[in-house]
Amino acid sequence: MSLEFGEMKEAIAGDTLSLSIRVMDKGVFGFSATNNLDRMQEAAKSAMRLVKVSQKKPFKQGLSEEKACKDQVTVKAAKKPLDYSLDEKASDLLELGKGMKLPKIVNYNIDYGDTTSSAYYLNSEGARLEFDNIVSSVGFRSYAKEGSIQSAHYSCGGCYGYEILDKFWDRGEKTSRQALELLGAEKIKSGRYDAVLGPEISGVMAHEAVGHACEADFIITNESILNGKLGKKIGSELVTICDNPTLEGTYGYYPYDDEGVKSKKTVMIKDGVVNSYLHSRETARKLGVHSTGNARAQSPFHSPIVRMSNTYFDKGDFSRDEIFDIKRGIYLERSKGGAVDVLKGEFQFASEMGYIIENGEITKPVRDASIFGSILDMLKNVDAVGKDLEYHGGGHCGKGQLVRVTTGGPHIRVKGAKIGGS
């Protein structure tokens, strides 16, 4: 459902059903999917035919040995979305929108969505899994105008129910206030700055700069800057970065991955040292290790590949005052996302909103600053990590397929970061 400037704009409802079959023969794969149950047999035949195509000149992988699990998991929701009518949801969104309507706000949107799903996973090794999930998300965007127009956004989501509106009720008004603040923000002059990254940005850094480079499908093809770096120190000892799909309620939560492997926490970087890559059963087999339970597919129409889940920069010991103790620098607070070239080891994250730091104090607001450069240089230049770990869900990671992810982190400080602005 979406709301725009005080009135409901659109509502969509629907049901889908689909299935896929993956077959392995002599270490290579054939895959087929359909959303027509009358065509299941044809899908299976197609997968069998395609495995022969793969065998013409195989990039042989096979699958690592893993326990065949049997389980049923149901996500808990305090308020099941299907128990609430569209009328009730529309009424709540309209009420929520009232808080966003502030002077100089010329438009605002709220996009709300919930999905209730059942997924079944079976394989020939005996795995039998059932996962009943509920995912809710809400996104806010506000436009402020005074001469120029500026916009601010916030999105959030998790594996829980309609209680999402209670959790994030105040975010709508905050988004409008931020758009208003952006009216007075200027672009910062490009250059090198000591930078404090807020939890949204440090989380994106953990995901983009480190998480992607640890995905073992990039490792086995020698496409990652972290290839061959297992056990080696690549950053400051303050840097610990993890991926943990077991965090219940988060947007990136899953109990078993899409190859039926039980999910678990993986510490990718521990005290600045590369500790583990992220694996599917395919990449684990190739490197002679066990899967970390990170094989995910966007839908049954996609084959599972190595993906992150809830990726975060782990907390440290620094207080907020200690981190902001900078003579002149920049505080990047709100994230707009990022991207990385894992081979060159270069990244870019964009910040919607930030501030100049002068003598330890936050002063003027700045907008549209980006931080970019070398992953390894930045990890070496982290010199303070806060205690205030926060998670931000509601985002999707694109790697040919979209999957739900959460990013997280505390405030961290990077010396001499490359900042792009004006």
Binding site: E10, D15, K57, Y143
Partner: protein, 423 residues
């Protein structure tokens, strides 16, 4: 699968309960084969079929989708219910009109090529990369056949059928990783794609940062990143209606040099975004968005056209489970004066990292150059670790077009040249 008569019966059922109704049916099948380093990694196929329903009740539109025909009654209830929570737009589904026959969208021969032949082509691509000294990292071919049909209560009807093939190749040379790709309606020689990927990987390896003001040459792939993330949202009538588009008050005003026109043309034979009508049944026609530098129109679907009393034609679905959204078809850049690239000196930008991070409201950008080189009549030494910064609408006012007109999927135009800042 439901036949046309079955769809017609369902539509009649819907008509009895609402002011207007529209039923959409889509079916597609695809084959994807991928290689990783020196072998085939995956061979995949898929078949998808689904339906969507739109209703208009009391001037408000409701949407629902389903995959099982037996779910129709529930989908109708859902759509009627959803319509209560939509804005009143005054939209009406279009009546049946004569649709132009756009040639070259369906190629039966493409579908006759079997999986083994496509796999052989990919293996040849691996070999083509090896011969250059670069390493093949990934090659992929994706082939699809799509059909869609729509009926509405005003007599509107269309049936569209097309084929497409998408070939992608990536190669690695030392610290450099590059790619090339091509889409088409019919089969083509795939080896040059792999050779280009390898050639780029070699040319973009190494490199140092540059900074300062330069003449900047943007490859069409970098141009389309900016178009998709800044220009298209600004031309979207939803944003114009709410006056949150940078271009809201620029209609009939100059937005780029007067020798440049920008067209939205769904009638190009064999075009990747060509069609006889949009996904709401509005007949296709060529439209000038910018005429000799002057902004002449925005893009509308039937809902925003109803709100703003304008002509629809840009309502396109992204799969049966999504309602139509506004987007252009084939974009054509028509420039009367072109800069000869053999005389160009400056910085060449092949692609941009994270172009979705631009400020689509203001047009401001600070984007890392994914791959680029110095340029002096041709590609020179690679550059790295630097970003272009600026504002797209300022760039547009002062842009020049190069003399290398090319078709890259929906984009039909040359590389762009502007004077800008690199940090």
């Amino acid at each position: 699968m439901l036949r046309l008569a079955d769809l017609d019966n369902l539509l009649r059922k819907a008509e009895k309960r609402v002011d207007q109704a529209e039923l959409y049916h889509e079916k597609s099948s695809h084959l994807i084969i991928k290689t990783k380093t020196n072998g085939i990694d995956y061979s995949m196929s898929g078949e998808s079929e689904g339906y969507s329903l739109r209703v208009i009740q009391n001037g408000r539109m409701g949407f629902s989708f389903f995959t099982l025909p037996s779910s129709f009654e529930k989908a109708l209830d859902d759509a009627i219910n959803a319509s209560k929570f939509s804005r009143k737009s005054g939209a009406s589904f279009p009546a049946r009109k004569k649709l132009k026959d756009v040639k070259g969208l369906y190629n039966r021969k493409l579908l006759e090529i079997n999986e083994n032949e496509l796999a052989d082509c990919l293996v040849q691509m691996i070999d083509a990369v090896k011969q250059t000294g670069a390493k093949s990292t990934e090659n992929a071919v994706s082939r699809a056949e799509n059909t869609s049909e729509l009926l509405n209560s005003e007599g509107g009807y269309f049936r569209k059928k097309d084929t497409e093939i998408n070939v992608w190749s990536s190669a690695q040379f030392r610290d450099s990783h590059s790619s090339d790709w091509k889409t088409s309606r019919g089969f083509f020689d795939m080896e040059p794609i792999a050779q280009n990927a390898a050639d780029y990987a070699i040319k973009f390896s190494g490199g140092k940062p540059v900074s300062g003001e330069f003449e900047i040459l943007l490859h069409p792939d970098a141009v389309t990143e900016l178009l998709q993330n800044i220009l298209f949202p600004a031309l979207n009538s939803e944003k114009v209606f709410r006056k949150t588009s940078f271009l809201s008050d620029k209609l009939n005003k100059a937005v780029c040099p007067k020798d440049i026109s920008i067209l939205d043309d769904p009638l190009i034979a064999g075009g990747m975004e060509s069609c006889c009508c949009d996904d709401e049944g509005v007949p296709s026609e060529t439209r000038k968005i910018v005429d000799k530098g002057i902004l002449k129109r925005f893009m509308f679907d039937i809902e925003t056209a109803g709100l703003m009393k304008n002509k629809p034609g840009n309502g396109f679905k992204h799969g049966f489970s999504n309602p139509p959204h506004i987007r252009p078809t084939n974009l054509v850049i028509d420039a009367k004066e072109n800069v000869k690239l053999k005389h160009f000196k400056g910085i060449f930008v092949y692609d941009l990292l994270a172009a979705h991070n631009v400020n689509s409201t203001t047009g401001d950008f600070a984007l890392e150059i994914g791959q680029g080189t110095l340029y002096d009549g041709g590609m020179g030494k690679a550059i790295r670790s630097c970003s272009i910064v600026g504002n797209f609408f300022d760039l547009l006012k002062n842009v020049s077009m190069a003399d290398d007109f090319q078709t890259r999927d929906y984009y039909n135009g040359p590389s762009w040249i502007y004077r800008g800042k690199i940090v």
